[in-house]
Protein backbone atom coordinates (compact mmCIF):
# COMPACT_ATOMS: atom_id res chain seq x y z
CA UNK A 1 0.00 0.00 0.00
CA UNK A 2 2.82 2.44 0.74
CA UNK A 3 3.78 2.24 -2.92
CA UNK A 4 0.30 3.43 -3.73
CA UNK A 5 0.79 6.25 -1.25
CA UNK A 6 3.97 7.32 -2.92
CA UNK A 7 2.33 7.04 -6.27
CA UNK A 8 -0.52 9.18 -4.99
CA UNK A 9 1.95 11.91 -4.29
CA UNK A 10 3.19 12.19 -7.84
CA UNK A 11 1.40 13.99 -10.61
CA UNK A 12 1.72 10.95 -12.82
CA UNK A 13 1.27 7.45 -11.50
CA UNK A 14 3.73 4.62 -11.41
CA UNK A 15 3.53 2.16 -14.27
CA UNK A 16 2.39 -0.42 -11.72
CA UNK A 17 -0.63 1.61 -10.87
CA UNK A 18 -1.17 2.34 -14.53
CA UNK A 19 -1.16 -1.36 -15.33
CA UNK A 20 -3.44 -2.03 -12.38
CA UNK A 21 -5.77 0.72 -13.55
CA UNK A 22 -6.04 -0.52 -17.09
CA UNK A 23 -6.61 -4.15 -16.08
CA UNK A 24 -8.99 -3.58 -13.22
CA UNK A 25 -10.68 -0.64 -14.96
CA UNK A 26 -11.60 -2.97 -17.81
CA UNK A 27 -12.92 -5.45 -15.28
CA UNK A 28 -14.94 -2.76 -13.59
CA UNK A 29 -16.48 -1.58 -16.83
CA UNK A 30 -17.31 -5.11 -17.91
CA UNK A 31 -18.84 -5.73 -14.49
CA UNK A 32 -20.92 -2.60 -14.81
CA UNK A 33 -22.09 -3.57 -18.26
CA UNK A 34 -22.98 -7.05 -17.12
CA UNK A 35 -24.90 -5.51 -14.21
CA UNK A 36 -27.24 -3.80 -16.58
CA UNK A 37 -27.35 -6.54 -19.19
CA UNK A 38 -27.84 -9.74 -17.22
CA UNK A 39 -31.34 -11.16 -17.36
CA UNK A 40 -31.34 -12.57 -13.86
CA UNK A 41 -31.16 -10.16 -10.96
CA UNK A 42 -28.76 -12.47 -9.10
CA UNK A 43 -26.19 -12.27 -11.84
CA UNK A 44 -26.51 -8.54 -11.95
CA UNK A 45 -25.93 -8.39 -8.23
CA UNK A 46 -22.82 -10.54 -8.46
CA UNK A 47 -21.36 -8.48 -11.29
CA UNK A 48 -22.04 -5.30 -9.35
CA UNK A 49 -20.27 -6.79 -6.35
CA UNK A 50 -17.27 -7.43 -8.58
CA UNK A 51 -17.22 -3.86 -9.82
CA UNK A 52 -17.42 -2.58 -6.29
CA UNK A 53 -14.44 -4.64 -5.18
CA UNK A 54 -12.47 -3.20 -8.07
CA UNK A 55 -13.50 0.25 -7.00
CA UNK A 56 -12.34 -0.58 -3.47
CA UNK A 57 -8.94 -1.39 -4.84
CA UNK A 58 -8.91 1.89 -6.72
CA UNK A 59 -9.71 3.72 -3.52
CA UNK A 60 -6.76 2.14 -1.90
CA UNK A 61 -4.64 3.06 -4.88
CA UNK A 62 -5.81 6.62 -4.53
CA UNK A 63 -4.67 6.69 -0.95
CA UNK A 64 -8.12 6.38 0.55
CA UNK A 65 -7.32 3.38 2.69
CA UNK A 66 -10.19 3.75 5.09
CA UNK A 67 -12.72 4.17 2.31
CA UNK A 68 -11.30 1.20 0.48
CA UNK A 69 -11.88 -0.99 3.50
CA UNK A 70 -15.27 0.50 4.18
CA UNK A 71 -16.20 -0.04 0.58
CA UNK A 72 -15.49 -3.72 0.85
CA UNK A 73 -17.01 -4.16 4.27
CA UNK A 74 -20.11 -2.01 3.92
CA UNK A 75 -20.91 -2.25 0.28
CA UNK A 76 -19.78 -5.62 -0.84
CA UNK A 77 -20.40 -7.04 2.56
CA UNK A 78 -23.60 -5.51 3.79
CA UNK A 79 -25.45 -3.77 1.00
CA UNK A 80 -24.90 -6.36 -1.65
CA UNK A 81 -26.01 -9.07 0.76
CA UNK A 82 -29.13 -7.06 1.42
CA UNK A 83 -29.70 -6.98 -2.29
CA UNK A 84 -29.27 -10.70 -2.56
CA UNK A 85 -31.74 -11.27 0.25
CA UNK A 86 -34.33 -9.23 -1.52
CA UNK A 87 -33.61 -11.02 -4.74
CA UNK A 88 -34.27 -14.25 -2.90
CA UNK A 89 -37.51 -12.86 -1.61
CA UNK A 90 -38.59 -11.81 -5.02
CA UNK A 91 -37.33 -14.98 -6.60
CA UNK A 92 -33.82 -15.97 -7.42
CA UNK A 93 -34.52 -17.60 -10.72
CA UNK A 94 -36.96 -14.87 -11.83
CA UNK A 95 -35.51 -13.54 -15.07
CA UNK A 96 -37.10 -10.47 -16.60
CA UNK A 97 -36.99 -10.35 -20.38
CA UNK A 98 -34.71 -7.68 -21.76
CA UNK A 99 -37.25 -7.06 -24.50
CA UNK A 100 -38.13 -3.36 -24.38
CA UNK A 101 -41.83 -2.59 -24.01
CA UNK A 102 -41.74 1.21 -24.17
CA UNK A 103 -41.45 2.40 -27.74
CA UNK A 104 -38.17 4.13 -28.54
CA UNK A 105 -37.02 3.89 -24.91
CA UNK A 106 -33.85 2.08 -25.80
CA UNK A 107 -32.81 4.45 -28.54
CA UNK A 108 -33.45 7.42 -26.36
CA UNK A 109 -31.49 5.79 -23.55
CA UNK A 110 -28.58 5.04 -25.89
CA UNK A 111 -28.66 8.54 -27.27
CA UNK A 112 -28.83 10.22 -23.88
CA UNK A 113 -26.21 7.88 -22.46
CA UNK A 114 -23.83 8.52 -25.30
CA UNK A 115 -24.34 12.26 -25.26
CA UNK A 116 -24.12 12.34 -21.49
CA UNK A 117 -20.93 10.33 -21.36
CA UNK A 118 -19.28 12.29 -24.12
CA UNK A 119 -20.23 15.59 -22.55
CA UNK A 120 -19.00 14.44 -19.15
CA UNK A 121 -15.68 13.34 -20.59
CA UNK A 122 -15.46 16.61 -22.48
CA UNK A 123 -16.07 18.41 -19.25
CA UNK A 124 -13.33 16.53 -17.51
CA UNK A 125 -11.16 16.98 -20.56
CA UNK A 126 -11.24 20.73 -20.65
CA UNK A 127 -11.01 21.04 -16.90
CA UNK A 128 -7.46 22.07 -16.11
CA UNK A 129 -6.25 19.23 -13.89
CA UNK A 130 -2.55 19.71 -14.21
CA UNK A 131 -1.08 19.83 -10.70
CA UNK A 132 -1.68 16.73 -8.59
CA UNK A 133 -0.43 17.55 -5.12
CA UNK A 134 -1.18 13.98 -3.86
CA UNK A 135 -2.16 12.99 -0.36
CA UNK A 136 1.37 12.86 0.98
CA UNK A 137 1.10 15.21 3.90
CA UNK A 138 -2.64 14.80 4.20
CA UNK A 139 -2.14 11.15 5.02
CA UNK A 140 1.06 11.78 6.90
CA UNK A 141 -0.70 11.47 10.25
CA UNK A 142 -2.41 8.37 9.02
CA UNK A 143 -5.42 8.35 6.74
CA UNK A 144 -7.94 7.20 9.31
CA UNK A 145 -6.83 9.75 11.88
CA UNK A 146 -7.02 12.44 9.24
CA UNK A 147 -10.57 11.45 8.34
CA UNK A 148 -11.55 11.13 11.99
CA UNK A 149 -10.24 14.56 12.87
CA UNK A 150 -12.18 16.02 9.96
CA UNK A 151 -15.37 14.15 10.69
CA UNK A 152 -15.47 15.05 14.34
CA UNK A 153 -14.48 18.66 13.87
CA UNK A 154 -15.42 20.08 10.53
CA UNK A 155 -18.15 17.68 9.50
CA UNK A 156 -19.45 16.79 12.93
CA UNK A 157 -22.94 18.07 12.25
CA UNK A 158 -23.20 16.27 8.95
CA UNK A 159 -21.99 13.20 10.74
CA UNK A 160 -24.62 13.43 13.43
CA UNK A 161 -27.30 14.06 10.85
CA UNK A 162 -26.28 11.02 8.88
CA UNK A 163 -26.61 9.08 12.09
CA UNK A 164 -30.12 10.29 12.48
CA UNK A 165 -30.73 9.47 8.85
CA UNK A 166 -29.60 5.91 9.32
CA UNK A 167 -31.85 5.37 12.30
CA UNK A 168 -34.75 6.88 10.44
CA UNK A 169 -34.01 4.62 7.50
CA UNK A 170 -33.96 1.57 9.72
CA UNK A 171 -37.24 2.48 11.35
CA UNK A 172 -38.71 3.36 7.99
CA UNK A 173 -37.75 0.03 6.51
CA UNK A 174 -39.36 -1.72 9.44
CA UNK A 175 -42.54 0.31 9.14
CA UNK A 176 -42.72 -0.31 5.46
CA UNK A 177 -42.19 -4.03 5.54
CA UNK A 178 -44.21 -4.67 8.65
CA UNK A 179 -47.77 -5.51 7.78
CA UNK A 180 -50.27 -4.55 10.46
CA UNK A 181 -53.02 -7.11 10.99
CA UNK A 182 -56.14 -5.03 11.02
CA UNK A 183 -58.76 -7.71 11.69
CA UNK A 184 -58.83 -10.81 13.87
CA UNK A 185 -57.32 -13.87 12.25
CA UNK A 186 -60.12 -16.08 10.98
CA UNK A 187 -60.24 -19.45 12.66
CA UNK A 188 -60.05 -22.65 10.64
CA UNK A 189 -63.70 -23.23 11.32
CA UNK A 190 -64.72 -19.90 9.88
CA UNK A 191 -62.54 -20.46 6.89
CA UNK A 192 -64.08 -23.84 6.15
CA UNK A 193 -67.56 -22.40 6.65
CA UNK A 194 -66.71 -19.65 4.21
CA UNK A 195 -65.44 -22.21 1.75
CA UNK A 196 -68.62 -24.20 2.01
CA UNK A 197 -70.70 -21.09 1.64
CA UNK A 198 -68.96 -20.09 -1.57
CA UNK A 199 -69.30 -23.68 -2.80
CA UNK A 200 -65.82 -23.61 -4.36
CA UNK A 201 -63.22 -26.26 -3.53
CA UNK A 202 -65.08 -27.38 -0.47
CA UNK A 203 -62.41 -29.97 0.50
CA UNK A 204 -58.93 -28.70 1.40
CA UNK A 205 -56.76 -27.88 -1.58
CA UNK A 206 -55.06 -30.96 -3.04
CA UNK A 207 -51.51 -31.51 -1.85
CA UNK A 208 -48.64 -31.01 -4.27
CA UNK A 209 -46.65 -33.97 -5.52
CA UNK A 210 -48.04 -37.25 -6.69
CA UNK A 211 -45.58 -39.89 -5.71
CA UNK A 212 -43.21 -40.28 -2.89
CA UNK A 213 -40.36 -39.04 -4.96
CA UNK A 214 -42.08 -35.94 -6.23
CA UNK A 215 -43.50 -34.19 -3.15
CA UNK A 216 -41.56 -30.92 -3.48
CA UNK A 217 -43.74 -27.82 -3.10
CA UNK A 218 -43.02 -26.65 -6.63
CA UNK A 219 -44.37 -29.81 -8.27
CA UNK A 220 -48.06 -29.77 -9.09
CA UNK A 221 -50.16 -32.80 -8.31
CA UNK A 222 -51.46 -34.71 -11.27
CA UNK A 223 -55.07 -35.17 -12.07
CA UNK A 224 -56.29 -38.69 -12.82
CA UNK A 225 -55.76 -38.10 -16.52
CA UNK A 226 -52.16 -37.21 -15.77
CA UNK A 227 -52.38 -33.48 -16.39
CA UNK A 228 -51.00 -31.22 -13.63
CA UNK A 229 -53.35 -29.24 -11.40
CA UNK A 230 -52.14 -25.69 -10.74
CA UNK A 231 -54.22 -25.65 -7.64
CA UNK A 232 -51.79 -27.86 -5.82
CA UNK A 233 -48.84 -25.43 -5.88
CA UNK A 234 -48.23 -22.28 -3.93
CA UNK A 235 -49.66 -19.11 -5.48
CA UNK A 236 -46.30 -17.32 -5.21
CA UNK A 237 -44.52 -20.02 -7.14
CA UNK A 238 -47.27 -19.94 -9.67
CA UNK A 239 -46.88 -16.18 -9.88
CA UNK A 240 -43.18 -16.54 -10.58
CA UNK A 241 -43.82 -19.34 -13.01
CA UNK A 242 -41.48 -21.58 -11.03
CA UNK A 243 -43.47 -24.78 -11.41
CA UNK A 244 -41.70 -27.94 -12.34
CA UNK A 245 -44.05 -29.99 -14.43
CA UNK A 246 -43.38 -33.72 -14.14
CA UNK A 247 -46.59 -34.97 -15.68
CA UNK A 248 -44.89 -36.33 -18.81
CA UNK A 249 -42.30 -38.46 -17.03
CA UNK A 250 -44.90 -39.46 -14.49
CA UNK A 251 -47.02 -40.83 -17.30
CA UNK A 252 -44.05 -42.64 -18.80
CA UNK A 253 -43.28 -44.25 -15.48
CA UNK A 254 -46.88 -45.11 -15.07
CA UNK A 255 -46.83 -46.96 -18.35
CA UNK A 256 -43.63 -48.74 -17.38
CA UNK A 257 -45.13 -49.80 -14.07
CA UNK A 258 -48.11 -51.14 -15.87
CA UNK A 259 -45.93 -53.28 -18.09
CA UNK A 260 -43.91 -54.59 -15.22
CA UNK A 261 -46.92 -55.54 -13.21
CA UNK A 262 -48.45 -57.32 -16.16
CA UNK A 263 -45.23 -59.12 -16.87
CA UNK A 264 -45.14 -60.01 -13.25
CA UNK A 265 -48.67 -61.33 -13.36
CA UNK A 266 -47.55 -63.51 -16.30
CA UNK A 267 -49.81 -62.11 -18.96
CA UNK A 268 -48.07 -61.90 -22.35
CA UNK A 269 -48.67 -60.94 -25.95
CA UNK A 270 -50.76 -57.79 -25.75
CA UNK A 271 -48.42 -56.16 -23.26
CA UNK A 272 -46.58 -54.46 -26.10
CA UNK A 273 -49.68 -52.70 -27.29
CA UNK A 274 -50.51 -51.35 -23.85
CA UNK A 275 -48.34 -48.29 -23.61
CA UNK A 276 -49.68 -47.00 -26.92
CA UNK A 277 -53.10 -47.15 -25.30
CA UNK A 278 -52.42 -43.66 -23.96
CA UNK A 279 -52.81 -42.35 -20.48
CA UNK A 280 -56.57 -42.66 -20.43
CA UNK A 281 -56.57 -46.39 -19.97
CA UNK A 282 -54.28 -46.59 -17.03
CA UNK A 283 -56.02 -43.63 -15.48
CA UNK A 284 -59.28 -45.53 -15.42
CA UNK A 285 -57.69 -48.71 -14.22
CA UNK A 286 -55.96 -46.82 -11.47
CA UNK A 287 -59.19 -45.16 -10.63
CA UNK A 288 -60.56 -48.57 -10.13
CA UNK A 289 -57.83 -49.74 -7.88
CA UNK A 290 -57.48 -46.93 -5.42
CA UNK A 291 -60.23 -44.88 -3.77
CA UNK A 292 -58.17 -41.96 -2.49
CA UNK A 293 -57.51 -40.93 -6.06
CA UNK A 294 -61.16 -41.44 -6.91
CA UNK A 295 -62.10 -38.67 -4.53
CA UNK A 296 -59.35 -36.62 -6.01
CA UNK A 297 -60.75 -37.24 -9.46
CA UNK A 298 -64.20 -36.24 -8.26
CA UNK A 299 -62.96 -32.90 -7.08
CA UNK A 300 -60.39 -32.41 -9.79
CA UNK A 301 -62.44 -30.92 -12.65
CA UNK A 302 -63.86 -28.43 -10.25
CA UNK A 303 -60.54 -26.96 -9.10
CA UNK A 304 -59.26 -26.75 -12.60
CA UNK A 305 -62.30 -24.76 -13.45
CA UNK A 306 -61.35 -22.33 -10.73
CA UNK A 307 -57.67 -22.21 -11.53
CA UNK A 308 -58.28 -20.92 -15.05
Amino acid sequence: MSGGALAAAASTTSTGEALQFWVLGTVAVIGALCTILMRKAVHSALCLAGTMIVLAIFYLANGAYFLGVVQIVVYTGAIMMLFLFVVMLVGVTAADSLKETLKGQRWLAALCGLGFGILLCAGIGNASLKTWNGLGQANSGGNVEGLASLIFTKYVFAFEITGALLITAAVGAMVLTHRERTERARTQREQSEARVRTGRNVPPLPAPGVYARHNAVDIPGLLPDGTPSDLTVNATLRGRGQIRDVSSEALAELAALEQRSQRWLGRKGNGTGKPSGGPGKPGTSENGENGEDGENAGSAPNPRGVAK
Binding site: F21, A28, M52, L55, Y59, I79, D96, G239
Partner: protein
Protein backbone atom coordinates in the same frame (compact mmCIF):
# COMPACT_ATOMS: atom_id res chain seq x y z
CA UNK B 1 -0.40 7.66 -16.63
CA UNK B 2 -2.31 10.71 -15.52
CA UNK B 3 -4.64 9.98 -12.59
CA UNK B 4 -7.31 11.89 -14.45
CA UNK B 5 -8.14 8.60 -16.06
CA UNK B 6 -9.84 7.68 -12.79
CA UNK B 7 -12.26 10.48 -13.50
CA UNK B 8 -12.89 9.18 -17.00
CA UNK B 9 -13.58 5.79 -15.54
CA UNK B 10 -15.96 7.33 -13.02
CA UNK B 11 -17.76 9.15 -15.80
CA UNK B 12 -18.02 5.96 -17.80
CA UNK B 13 -19.38 3.96 -14.88
CA UNK B 14 -21.83 6.68 -14.04
CA UNK B 15 -23.12 6.76 -17.58
CA UNK B 16 -23.50 3.00 -17.63
CA UNK B 17 -25.39 3.13 -14.38
CA UNK B 18 -27.67 5.85 -15.66
CA UNK B 19 -28.31 3.90 -18.84
CA UNK B 20 -29.14 0.90 -16.68
CA UNK B 21 -31.63 2.87 -14.68
CA UNK B 22 -33.32 3.84 -17.88
CA UNK B 23 -33.25 0.48 -19.55
CA UNK B 24 -34.02 -2.07 -16.88
CA UNK B 25 -37.50 -2.78 -15.64
CA UNK B 26 -36.70 -4.81 -12.58
CA UNK B 27 -36.76 -2.50 -9.59
CA UNK B 28 -33.94 -4.33 -7.86
CA UNK B 29 -31.62 -4.07 -10.82
CA UNK B 30 -32.62 -0.45 -11.04
CA UNK B 31 -31.38 -0.01 -7.53
CA UNK B 32 -28.15 -1.73 -8.32
CA UNK B 33 -27.62 0.71 -11.14
CA UNK B 34 -28.22 3.57 -8.76
CA UNK B 35 -25.62 2.10 -6.47
CA UNK B 36 -23.27 1.87 -9.40
CA UNK B 37 -23.75 5.54 -10.11
CA UNK B 38 -23.12 6.41 -6.50
CA UNK B 39 -19.94 4.41 -6.52
CA UNK B 40 -18.82 6.18 -9.65
CA UNK B 41 -19.31 9.45 -7.84
CA UNK B 42 -17.37 8.16 -4.90
CA UNK B 43 -14.49 7.25 -7.14
CA UNK B 44 -14.56 10.76 -8.55
CA UNK B 45 -14.53 12.23 -5.06
CA UNK B 46 -11.64 10.12 -3.98
CA UNK B 47 -9.74 11.10 -7.07
CA UNK B 48 -10.45 14.72 -6.38
CA UNK B 49 -9.16 14.44 -2.84
CA UNK B 50 -6.00 13.07 -4.34
CA UNK B 51 -5.97 15.97 -6.75
CA UNK B 52 -6.37 18.59 -4.08
CA UNK B 53 -4.29 16.81 -1.56
CA UNK B 54 -6.81 17.05 1.27
CA UNK B 55 -9.24 14.55 2.71
CA UNK B 56 -12.50 16.41 2.21
CA UNK B 57 -13.25 14.49 -0.93
CA UNK B 58 -12.92 11.25 1.00
CA UNK B 59 -15.21 12.57 3.70
CA UNK B 60 -17.82 13.33 1.12
CA UNK B 61 -17.44 9.89 -0.35
CA UNK B 62 -17.86 8.47 3.11
CA UNK B 63 -21.04 10.34 3.66
CA UNK B 64 -22.25 9.24 0.26
CA UNK B 65 -21.77 5.66 1.32
CA UNK B 66 -23.72 6.17 4.50
CA UNK B 67 -26.55 7.86 2.69
CA UNK B 68 -26.50 5.19 0.01
CA UNK B 69 -26.80 2.55 2.67
CA UNK B 70 -29.80 4.27 4.18
CA UNK B 71 -31.32 4.73 0.78
CA UNK B 72 -30.86 1.10 -0.12
CA UNK B 73 -32.49 -0.01 3.08
CA UNK B 74 -35.56 2.10 2.54
CA UNK B 75 -35.68 1.46 -1.18
CA UNK B 76 -35.51 -2.28 -0.85
CA UNK B 77 -38.15 -2.16 1.84
CA UNK B 78 -40.39 -0.32 -0.58
CA UNK B 79 -39.68 -2.85 -3.30
CA UNK B 80 -40.60 -5.69 -1.02
CA UNK B 81 -43.82 -4.02 -0.04
CA UNK B 82 -44.74 -3.31 -3.63
CA UNK B 83 -43.92 -6.86 -4.61
CA UNK B 84 -46.10 -8.16 -1.84
CA UNK B 85 -49.02 -6.09 -2.97
CA UNK B 86 -48.78 -6.66 -6.73
CA UNK B 87 -46.60 -9.75 -7.14
CA UNK B 88 -44.17 -7.99 -9.40
CA UNK B 89 -40.99 -6.02 -9.11
CA UNK B 90 -41.32 -4.35 -12.50
CA UNK B 91 -41.40 -0.56 -12.40
CA UNK B 92 -43.55 -0.51 -15.52
CA UNK B 93 -46.39 -2.13 -13.63
CA UNK B 94 -46.47 0.86 -11.33
CA UNK B 95 -47.58 3.27 -14.03
CA UNK B 96 -50.46 4.85 -12.17
CA UNK B 97 -49.01 8.30 -12.77
CA UNK B 98 -50.65 8.14 -16.19
CA UNK B 99 -53.21 10.90 -16.76
Amino acid sequence: MNPVNYLYLAALLFTIGAAGVVIRRNAIVLFMCVELMLNACNLAFVTFSRLHGNLDGQIIAFFTMVVAAAEVVVGLAIIVTVFRSRHSASVDDASLMKL
